[in-house]
């Protein structure tokens, strides 16, 4: 348990002007935990851009909200979206940890009034072939995927994409970051505010039990041997209950009787009461005896700190409670008045009339300690700068090995377990560069992508963060969408270590620079610190989710469609040297090492390439388009060959073949087209290169330079290398 420090306890005493009761101490401990208060990161998060004309609601609410334009009849629409982590619970109990991670972020979306229409997940596990931890890693992977499927499928939200990466640093600390997005009209937006003196405070949803007590504090501590005993701290999810809660809440909101609403997530009843009061500048008085309880004999401490799932707190207009109750009755859910909004600014918690806690809301919710943790050292780097000597024996074999590797292989085994179609909006689902979901009401669509690359960030947190934002925006631009806003999940180790804190600060500054450049303000997100097990921190792992807007139309997809089409590399071949090659998948999979720096990024050039591809795609000039990223040009080429059409490619590069084929320079998009000339004209207009590198053909992929063939392989063999690799790895271990 991460308790309050001595100085924090002093602050509690000065706020209360007395010693805290046991319940009050519990309340302060969770609200001032890293998880709830962002006490180590808040100072630096202020550096992030958060505004644009589209941003209706920025950080600080349950989710960010942006304007997406009006329906044909002129009704303005918006989307709410956010990403959140459930890392610690998913390690302790993978299935329930991941399931409740999905449940938590969905509530953040519909508590604002939006109907969730898409979920994506960024997952990080230890390798499935790790000599010491393979069994546990596989068990965690299977549990996490099963938990996400269980919750999302039953709730009825499509899981439309995400990413899964395997690194040894996640052996003892897997990451589960869940992104959710919902849609609504501007006039349907609700806030977590307890306004209006005397208004009733109403508890709805599942009953409160002893599960999840101190989950937020657990998520704010490192893992030790004792953590295994924290299984009772992990909540148990009931997606059916959540589905009922969703429908009931959206229906209740339509009555017009609801003033404010907030879900009970981390820190449960404590967080929802004091935050709602704090935002509205009011007090809240509740009596715990009125709270629906699943177990007998619960103490005020337990009720206030329980993280039982599928619960909401709402404030309705006085005298209109019955309208709200009627809706919840229809859905078979508990809805009980447990207190009132008061004018004294205090959270007063009674139990059978006896005061158990009395704390000023604002001080509790917003005056948490703020730390400027030391970070005046270079960020911790787990790799040398110097490149080793390397030379490939067989480039085609290298490519096949890369395609079968954990990070690059098809994730079909994972996403086939997710219902990615429910609600009949999915235009592009898992496996695409960006997922696309249409908004039926507006006739437009939303594209979304999640990206992270801890290898790049381990080598340089700042450059890595910039590259992630660039890639995420590029994924959207590749399908023709204009990136407009972002959310981020910062997964790091122990911030009390300066070399880790330095990673965090550099990452935030890199994100800030890139998000400003691409005009994608960050509207909210999550920070997950203390991702360490037995003193070993994960690599810095920022995950960025960016949303883009596009017109509703048949999507441009990755595979080549026809023979005898020109293959162009928009943005050019790019360049790399030995130092900038050290963070690539080639270095990881083929050379089993890491060194140097991530690929170099020119932000201005990247932005022009993206503007060009958007115009090219939206003009309908291409038959296929694919972002070149992990694994470089050769892997991107192979990924274009999955429908049986290959290509003959000549790379006019002075670089050695390993680097020419597998370097990961950004700002490149691979396209096939029957109309190369207008494509080249658009490239010229934006002053970006457009290398004509070959032509599509039947069944084979051949890549070389003017004199040599480097890679020669059937399209089928490439597809087979990737298609079942993950499944086979899991099956082999289960055997």
């Amino acid at each position: 348990m991460s308790a309050l420090t001595a100085s924090e306890l002093d602050k509690v005493r000065s706020i209360l002007e007395r010693d805290p009761t046991e319940t009050e101490l519990g309340i302060f401990t969770v609200m001032w935990s890293e998880h709830c208060s962002y006490k180590s990161s808040r100072l630096h998060l202020k550096k992030l851009p958060t505004k644009s004309p589209r941003v209706l609601v920025g950080p600080g609410e349950n989710a960010g909200i942006i304007d997406i334009g009006a329906s044909p009849s002129g009704v303005p629409y918006a989307i709410a979206f956010k990403i959140e982590s459930h890392n610690h619970p998913s390690f302790i109990e993978p299935f329930q940890g991941a399931a409740t991670g999905v449940g938590g972020i969905l509530r953040d979306i519909f508590t604002m009034g939006a109907r969730p229409i898409a979920v994506m997940d960024a997952l990080r596990f230890g390798p499935l072939d790790d000599p010491a931890h393979a069994d546990r890693n596989r068990r965690i992977l299977e549990g996490v995927v099963g938990g996400i499927a269980h919750y999302g499928n039953c709730f009825g939200v499509p899981t439309v994409g995400g990413e899964t990466v395997f690194e040894q640093c996640y052996n003892g600390n897997p990451l589960v970051n869940v992104f959710a997005l919902g849609v609504f009209r501007h006039d349907e937006i609700f806030f977590g505010r307890a306004s209006g003196l005397g208004n009733p405070v109403i508890y709805v949803g599942a009953k409160t039990g002893r599960d999840g007590i101190h989950g937020a504090s657990m998520a704010s501590a490192e893992f030790t041997e004792e953590s295994k005993q924290k299984r009772p701290n992990v909540q148990v999810g009931d997606p059916f209950m959540e589905k009922l809660l969703l429908e009931a809440c959206l229906e209740a909101m339509k009555t017009g009787a609801i003033v404010g609403i907030q879900d009970m997530g981390a820190a449960g009843l404590t967080c929802s009461t004091c935050e709602m009061g704090s935002r509205a500048g009011t007090g809240i008085e509740i009596d715990l005896a009125l709270v629906p309880q699943r177990e007998t004999g619960m103490t005020p401490y337990e009720i206030m700190l329980s993280e039982s799932q599928e619960r909401m707190l709402l404030v309705s207009e006085q005298g209109r409670e019955e309208e709200v109750f009627a809706v919840f009755r229809k859905w078979g859910l508990d809805a009980v008045t447990i207190g009132r909004v008061t004018g004294d600014g205090k959270l007063r918690v009674k139990n059978h009339g006896v005061v158990a806690a009395e704390i000023p809301n604002r001080e509790l919710a917003d005056e948490a300690p703020l730390y400027d943790r030391p970070h005046d050292v270079p960020p911790y780097r787990p790799a040398p700068m110097e490149a080793p000597r390397f030379r490939s024996n067989h480039l085609t074999a290298d490519l096949l090995k890369l395609l079968a590797s954990g990070d690059l292989c098809s994730k079909r085994w994972i996403w086939q377990q997710y219902d990615y179609l429910v609600r009949a909006n999915t235009i592009a689902g898992p496996g695409a560069d960006a997922a696309i979901v249409r908004i039926k009401e507006t006739g437009t669509s939303i594209a979304m992508s999640l990206d992270g690359n801890s290898r790049y960030c381990a080598l340089s947190p700042r450059e890595g963060a910039r590259l992630i934002v660039a890639e995420c925006c590029r994924n959207l631009s590749t399908v023709g969408a204009l990136p407009v806003a972002a959310t981020n999940n910062l997964n790091f180790g122990n911030p009390e270590r300066p070399e880790i804190m330095a990673q965090l600060v550099e990452t935030i500054e890199g994100l800030a620079e890139a998000c400003r450049h691409f005009e994608t303000p960050i509207t909210g997100g999550n920070v997950s610190l203390y991702n360490e097990t037995l003193g070993e921190a994960i690599w810095p792992t920022p995950v960025v989710g960016i949303v883009g807007l596009l017109k509703t139309a048949a999507p441009v997809t990755i595979p080549f469609k026809n023979e005898a089409r020109a293959v162009l590399l928009l943005g050019g071949l790019g360049s790399s040297d030995d130092t900038r090659f050290g963070g690539t998948q080639y270095a990881k999979v083929i050379l089993d090492t890491m060194w140097g720096l991530p690929p170099a990024l020119d932000l201005d050039y990247e932005k022009r390439v993206q503007a060009a591809i958007r115009e090219i795609v939206n003009e309908g000039l291409v038959e296929s388009a694919h972002d070149v990223s992990d694994g470089g040009l050769a892997v991107a080429m192979a990924e274009c060959c999955t429908d049986g059409i290959g290509a003959s490619i000549e790379v006019d590069s002075a670089a050695r073949p390993e680097i020419a084929l597998f370097h990961e320079a950004p700002s490149r998009i691979l396209i096939s087209t029957a109309l190369p000339q207008p494509v080249e004209e658009i490239a010229r207009k934006y002053q970006v290169e457009c290398a004509s590198i070959g032509v599509t053909m039947k069944e084979r992929l051949r890549i070389g330079n003017r004199t040599m063939t480097w890679i020669d392989c059937s399209a089928r063999q490439l597809d087979e290398a990737s298609r079942n690799a993950l499944e086979d790895r899991i099956a082999n271990q289960n055997a």
Binding site: A149, G156, F240, Q416, D419, I427, K440
Partner: protein, 224 residues
């Protein structure tokens, strides 16, 4: 035509069915809450996909006790068209309106992907505008879709031409690749795949249209 889409607590493809009927086919579609005791003036019913009552106990096992089921049984007995999709199929089977059972997928995992179906008979109101042997690309999305019945029932289904659609690439281990069946009266059909998610080319396939077009066709009063 007036379609009713039955909404149980936990139904989640009710919206998909409603959207297909009203926005794609331009028919009237009304949502019918599970505790309704009468259906109102509807010409056909759809029991949509989802997780009615959380699929607790067994898929469809609690839904069969919903008040609306009595009205649905009467509607079916009177010859009304009832189409159960996915969870709706499971509910029809649990209610005894269709024979057999739907077990956990052979692979033990939820499976969501495009599959190919073959239409085995055009002698139902759900396939009357199709031709026998016609192929359809439609998605599946279920964890418990493995169709099971004893040999005698299976033989009877085949003999009576009641296997309506079969998988070409069986995703769940269903016996004899059965994806959908109808009752003896041929007015109640259940299938695991989602034709309602395959009615717009924008979303990848229009092959599911034929089921709805057939229903609409068979509901239009034939010219005297």
């Amino acid at each position: 035509m007036r379609f009713g889409v039955v909404v149980f607590p936990g139904s989640n493809r009710d919206h998909d069915a409603w959207h297909a009927i009203s926005n794609v086919f331009g028919q009237s579609a009304e949502l019918i809450w599970h505790d309704s005791t009468s259906l109102g003036p509807v010409d056909a019913l759809i029991l949509p996909g989802g997780f009615a009552y959380g699929d607790y106990l067994r898929c469809g096992a609690i839904a069969k006790f919903s008040p609306v089921m009595k009205a649905i049984k009467k509607f079916a007995a009177d010859g009304g068209l009832v189409l159960g999709i996915c969870n709706g199929f499971q509910i029809l089977v649990e209610s005894g309106l269709l024979p057999g059972a739907l077990l956990r997928n052979r692979g033990l995992k939820f499976v969501c992907r495009q599959i190919t179906l073959r239409i085995e008979t055009s002698n139902t109101p759900f396939t009357c505008t199709a031709t026998r042997g016609q192929l359809m690309k439609v998605p599946v999305a279920h964890g418990e879709g493995c169709y099971f019945a004893d040999e005698r029932t299976l033989d009877a289904l085949e003999k009576e031409d009641r296997v309506v659609v079969r998988y070409l690439d069986n995703p769940n281990g269903s016996l004899r690749d059965i994806a959908g069946i109808c009752n003896e009266g041929r007015n109640v059909m259940g299938l695991m795949p989602h034709p309602e998610d395959a009615v717009e080319s924008l979303l990848g396939s229009e092959d599911g249209r034929v089921l709805f077009e057939s229903m609409i066709h068979s509901l239009v009063p034939s010219p005297a």
